[in-house]
């Protein structure tokens, strides 16, 4: 799988280049050999693959934390886990799943597939994409190191003040949470810029705005949401850590601060966050449903407009997390209306998919099963969402297990099921091997049944009044049976994930060879080999429709005249994707990795001494300058192909 060396015997064939030229092209786009070369990679496929694997490791760790909570709750008055550790575990679970799994994995898939979907040779700003990965993985290591040292955060994944403030949370645990936010948000923001610029400027000629594949559209819209949402939580967590470390009073009512300010800033990020997870998943579903219904998605313009409408509405919902506070009643009515309105664009998409499936010829393979599982679970989660949008009902069941059930139906139904559909669908492209269908069906059914067994009883427990985030409950409340059922469901989910891991390992070793386009799909990633060559496309394609591989062959078919050396890409115009100019892309470099270490030193140091922000900036400045500074060699290569506009 590594492409540090190029095997001349296994080069893809080209229609514009002879074998020696293809070899040179592939060597130009290859990583450098060795460990340094591995750390220096700026290939979006390698960054994306590492990102996916790392975020899945965090998914498993977050799942193990969930399993430990379910074990504790399996019977009343259990003393397996004490309250202090339980607080850390549910905070770690929520923070890991939201900040280290759900958002990053969606961006990870985008980093891998958006350039392939739009016919580009790499992602825009590949060094920044590499930095985004390194800062993410260091943030995750930072969080779990804290947990291992008994300074894991214990204030819930949304860290409400005053609980998380200096008075009620002395020690370093809440600081650890606040800095985790900084790590992950820096990573997400930078990756978003890479994705936006890739979609705007690196599309293959002919891929006009109305021909962009729906997953690329979804990733693009999501990246914009991240640009506007994530700054809110970064600002809030910075205020929190300053309240804790340097004595500011943002959230201190005694000195003019305000606790609800935290909730406003947090949920101004936190609600869009749900859609930041959900919208890429919608794009994945569209990618999967078209080939498995064997027809293009019905209502493409409605689909795209729905994605954009969802993104806008997603910013008008945040107060519905605050119905139990003293926000003005009129304001609550507005947010109720907005919360119900957002069901409309989602419904438009669901009806478009139903129309697609209805009129298609279905191919019931594992990716489609996960897509159909999405419909069932998300609709249930959506219905409880409409219920919770009502202030009267929400006030009753706020902070109960009903909310836990709702959010898992939405996030697992709306995020994880589409993600698994995407894994089964795109795994052959990433590895050249098919995942096993038999294990895939086991994976699906265990997950689907286990999920409903684990989470459906929580609706009832919530209505019966069981509060969330309690480490145990008395026997005479009568919640024991449903909790035990829920725990058995959690075990089933764990088995399902184990089957998935076995499937991945077994298929990597001995799975059926995939070929370029095993599903007969229509988008550009299937036009290249599986796994793709270093340069993605030996012949950069020209696009004439929404599903280029399902279109009759039309001239022009490909781009000619890009250099085999240096790394040259074609930029196209934003709307019509007309060829605009050539651009030499950056070579691999170790500096994004070094910069991420320097940034980590600053973030960690600042928890212990505010002056670390000043001294820590010096190594960052040095590393980032070295990253930017062009070498003589790079400049010489660029000049060889330079042409002034």
């Amino acid at each position: 799988m590594t492409s540090a060396t190029v095997d001349p015997a296994r080069l893809p064939r080209s229609r514009t280049l002879d074998a020696s030229e293809v070899l040179e092209l592939e060597r130009t786009w290859a990583d450098r050999p060795g460990l340094i070369g591995w750390l220096a990679s700026v290939d979006h496929k390698h960054i994306g693959r590492r990102f996916i694997v790392t975020s899945m490791i965090f998914f498993v760790l977050g799942g193990l934390l969930a399993a430990s909570m379910r074990t504790q709750l399996a019977k009343p008055e259990n003393d397996l886990i004490g309250p202090d550790l339980y607080n850390q575990i549910f905070t770690m679970h929520g923070s890991t799943m939201m900040f280290l799994f759900a958002v990053p994995v969606m961006q990870a898939v985008a980093i891998y597939f958006v350039p392939l979907l739009v016919g580009a040779r790499n992602i825009a700003f590949p060094r920044m994409a590499a930095f985004s990965y390194w800062i993410f993985v260091l943030g995750g290591i930072f969080l779990f190191t804290g947990f291992a040292l008994n300074i894991g955060p214990d204030v819930g994944w949304f860290a409400y003040v005053p609980l998380s403030g200096p008075q009620y949370s002395p020690g370093k645990r809440a600081d650890w949470w606040a800095q985790l936010i900084t790590f992950t948000e820096v990573s997400a923001l930078l990756a978003s810029i890479c994705i936006i610029c890739t979609v705007l400027k690196l599309r293959a000629p002919g891929m006009t705005l109305t021909r962009i594949p729906l997953f690329a559209w979804a990733s693009f819209v999501t990246a914009f949401m991240i640009l506007f949402a994530m700054p809110a939580v970064m600002l809030a967590s910075t205020m929190l850590i300053m309240d804790r470390l340097v004595g500011t009073h943002f959230f201190n009512p005694a000195d003019g601060g305000d606790a609800l300010l935290w909730q406003h800033l947090f949920w101004f990020f936190g609600h869009p966050e749900v859609y930041i997870i959900f919208i890429p998943a919608l794009g994945m579903l569209s990618s999967v449903i078209a080939p498995f219904a064997r027809r293009p998605i019905y209502g493409y313009p409605a689909m795209v407009l729905s994605l954009i409408a969802t993104a806008f509405l997603g910013f008008a919902l945040w107060v519905h997390h605050m119905f139990a506070t003293n926000v003005a009643e009129l304001g609550k009515s507005f947010f109720t209306a907005a919360s119900m309105t957002i069901a409309i664009p989602t419904a438009v998409q669901i009806f478009c998919w139903i129309a697609t499936l209805w009129t298609g010829k279905l191919n019931f393979r594992t990716p489609l099963l996960f897509a159909l599982g999405f419909f069932f679970i998300l609709v249930l989660g959506g219905l409880t969402g409409v219920m919770l949008a009502s202030v009267a009902l929400d006030t009753q069941i706020h902070d109960t297990y009903f909310v836990v059930a709702h959010l898992h139906y939405v996030l697992i139904g709306g995020g994880v099921f589409p993600l698994f559909a995407a894994f089964y669908y795109w795994f052959p492209k990433m590895t050249g091997r098919m995942l096993s269908e038999t294990l895939g069906k086991w994976n699906f059914w265990l997950f689907f049944i286990g999920f409903n067994v684990a989470f459906f009883p929580m609706h009832i427990l919530g209505l019966e009044g069981m509060p969330r985030r309690v480490y145990t409950y008395p026997a005479d409340m009568g919640w024991g049976t449903l909790n035990l059922v829920s725990t058995l469901g959690a075990v089933t989910i764990a088995l399902s994930v184990l089957v998935f891991i076995i499937n991945v390992i077994a298929s990597l070793r001995g799975g059926a060879v995939a070929g370029d386009n095993p599903w007969g799909a229509g988008t550009l990633e299937w036009a290249t080999t599986s796994p793709p060559p270093n340069c993605n496309f030996v012949d950069v394609p020209v696009v004439h429709g929404r599903e280029p591989l399902w279109e009759p062959v039309r001239d022009p078919q490909y781009v000619a005249g890009l250099a085999t050396q240096p790394r040259e890409v074609l930029l196209t115009s934003v709307v019509d994707a007309l060829p605009d100019h050539r651009l030499v892309f950056p070579e691999p470099t170790i500096w994004p990795f070094v910069s991420s270490l320097a940034v980590t030193a600053l973030f960690v140091g600042s928890i212990f001494n505010p002056w670390a922000v000043v001294w820590g900036a010096i190594p960052i400045a040095i590393a980032v300058t070295a990253w930017f500074w062009p070498t003589e060699e790079e400049t010489r290569k660029s000049l060889a192909v330079e042409k002034s506009p």
């Binding site: 229609r15 514009t16 280049l17 040179e24 092209l25 825009a124 700003f125 978003s192 936006i196 610029c197 705007l200 400027k201 640009l227 506007f228 809110a232 970064m234 600002l235 205020m239 340097v246 004595g247 500011t248 009073h249 943002f250 201190n252 009512p253 000195d255 003019g256 601060g257 305000d258 300010l261 800033l265 101004f268 020209v542 001239d555 022009p556 781009v559 000619a560 005249g561 890009l562 250099a563 085999t564 040259e568 074609l570 930029l571 060829p579 605009d580 100019h581 050539r582 651009l583 062009p630 003589e632 400049t635 010489r636 660029s638 000049l639 060889a640 192909v641 330079e642 002034s644 506009p645």
Partner: protein
């Protein structure tokens, strides 16, 4: 640097006959561009959107905290406007060398790029020096009360942008003198100017909020 013509032997491995309908020939397209042609221009706008959102939310926080107390600033003197107003004048004046740096970049005039980038850096350093006195004239500390916290944060956020862009400009200024240079660097000069325009424009609302708002709300 445009005149530099190095061996092109490895450049175009195969030229398609101009009448070959199956291919689009792109070898003669330019190898860099300005404004919305340029990838870096879009990337710079991405950064501007992120940081503009941070500024907007910090300003929203200021007005939110205003609603929590009766007097504003709460039992403190107004911030002294002298140094802030001087800085407003310097920052607004820096738009002129900034625009000339941008034009020099777009004209691909290396001498002009060098000259105006360094003049711009001088302006940036001047604002940073005045900024020190600004912090002293706020008449509060960050830990006095929530008003002090948000005022220091607003001024601190803008200062952070001044520092990073001054450093950016300095690195670019040195590179323009020492090399290695290529045509793309003209685009970097133009995009550095775009970002500096953002730092200028951001200062206007923050100035109004810090110095004028407490006197009128």
């Amino acid at each position: 640097m445009n005149a530099a013509v190095v061996s092109r032997s490895r450049r175009r491995p195969r030229r398609v006959a101009s009448n070959d309908p199956s291919a689009i020939e792109v070898a003669e397209l330019p190898s860099y561009g300005f404004g919305d042609h340029s990838l870096m221009w879009w990337g710079t706008w991405g950064i501007i959107l992120i940081e503009g959102t941070v500024f907007a939310l910090a300003i929203a926080t200021y007005f939110y905290l205003r609603t929590r107390v009766i007097n504003w600033p709460p039992s403190l003197d107004f911030p002294g406007p002298l140094w802030g107003t001087i800085n407003l004048a310097i920052v607004l004046a820096s738009a002129i060398p900034n625009q000339w740096a941008k034009r020099a970049g777009e004209r691909q005039d290396l001498a002009g790029c060098r000259q105006w980038t360094w003049v711009l850096l001088a302006f940036a350093i001047a604002t940073l020096i005045v900024r020190i006195f600004e912090f002293k004239s706020l008449n509060c500390r960050w830990d006095t009360n929530a008003y002090g916290s948000i005022v220091w944060m607003l001024l601190g956020l803008h200062t952070l942008h001044l520092v990073t862009d001054a450093y950016d400009t300095a690195v670019l200024g040195v590179l323009l003198i020492t090399g290695p240079l290529e045509g793309k660097r003209f685009g970097d000069v133009a995009e550095n100017a775009l970002y500096w325009n953002f730092v200028i424009l951001a200062w206007i609302p923050i100035y109004l909020v810090i110095y004028i708002a407490p006197r009128v709300i």
